[in-house]
Amino acid sequence: MPNIPVVETILSVNDQLAEQNRKTLDDAGVLALNVMASPGGGKTTVIGKTIDALRDDVRIGVMDGDIVAIDLEGFAAQGIPVSLINTGGNCHLDANMVHNALPTMDLNALDLLIIENVGNLVCPAAFKLGSHINVVIASVPEGADKPYKYPAMFSGADVLLLNKMDLAEYMEFDVEYFRHGVEVLNPGVAFFPISCRTGEGLDAWIDWLRARLAEKAQPGA
């Protein structure tokens, strides 16, 4: 029986669409974030704080993979352009969903597109969207063992936010244990412990993001 060598990445169809999305975003000069976390990890709150800090001089849009529009309504009420990707209960966003949603937004009127993925530490790690930066948010109540249990998610992060740091002392959260797992999986990844409640650490995250926006605005940088 003849054997045909293939050696093709199984997600190649998704990856090709992700490349197209990346080109669409680049042509419009938009920096796109893919924000991933567990349900309740703080995705929407972090996005809200990020918008508050940047909106005076950065044009921001939000795309949300969800089953209801409740998270987006708050942003829309503040005049932020939003697009709901109705996932119908799906466990992740993929490049095709983003591809279909991109035309609903006026990309030329944006500098930054924040894509809020489905709350899940497993499936979203496997699907490229065409975004530029994978933002992974972990939170203290989830426990310090998460990098060890969900290695794919943490090894694919470009920046890692550890949220709800104000709870660390009550939860006896072992930051060193957490960081060591992250560092082994993803050496040198940008890491910011934050608290959206107290504001701790948010300035460092915003500074980091501003630096990425500045790089994006300077072709060839």
Binding site: M1, V7, A126, F127, Y148, V184
Partner: protein
């Protein structure tokens, strides 16, 4: 449930390569899955039986090769399986370790039936 999308992609790739080779039927797919790629072969198999029905790959066997994720100790050089609790060398105790392998996820090859060669008279 993300295995559904993955299984569709797998079928698309296999059929494309089989058609390029002029094959009539796909009988087997050899798939390499790394431990860190977060796919479950049982789920892929479940969707495969539904999705491949009615295609040239109907009934094809899925052969999975699982690649374990390993850690290498940068202090003593030994290699050991990835634990899901602690990343430290079992030999020397060093925590200076690096991940090696386990990210793989690809279709390695397919077995196919080709049409019977037509004997040409001349």
């Amino acid at each position: 449930m993300h295995e559904l999308a993955v299984t569709q992609s797998m079928l698309e790739i296999a059929v494309r390569h089989a058609e390029q080779a002029g094959a009539e039927r796909i009988t087997r797919l050899s798939i390499v899955i790394g431990e860190l790629s977060s796919y479950v072969d049982d789920s892929v198999q479940f969707y495969w039986d539904l999705i491949a029905a009615g295609t040239i790959a109907e009934g094809a066997e899925l052969a999975f090769t699982r690649v374990p994720a390993a850690l290498r100790c940068n202090a003593c050089g030994c290699t050991f399986p990835l634990s899901h609790e602690r990343y430290a060398c079992p030999q020397c105790g060093s925590e200076d370790v690096t991940v090696e392998g386990g990210q793989e996820f690809y279709l390695d090859s397919i077995d196919v039936d080709l049409p019977e060669p037509v004997e040409s008279a001349g």
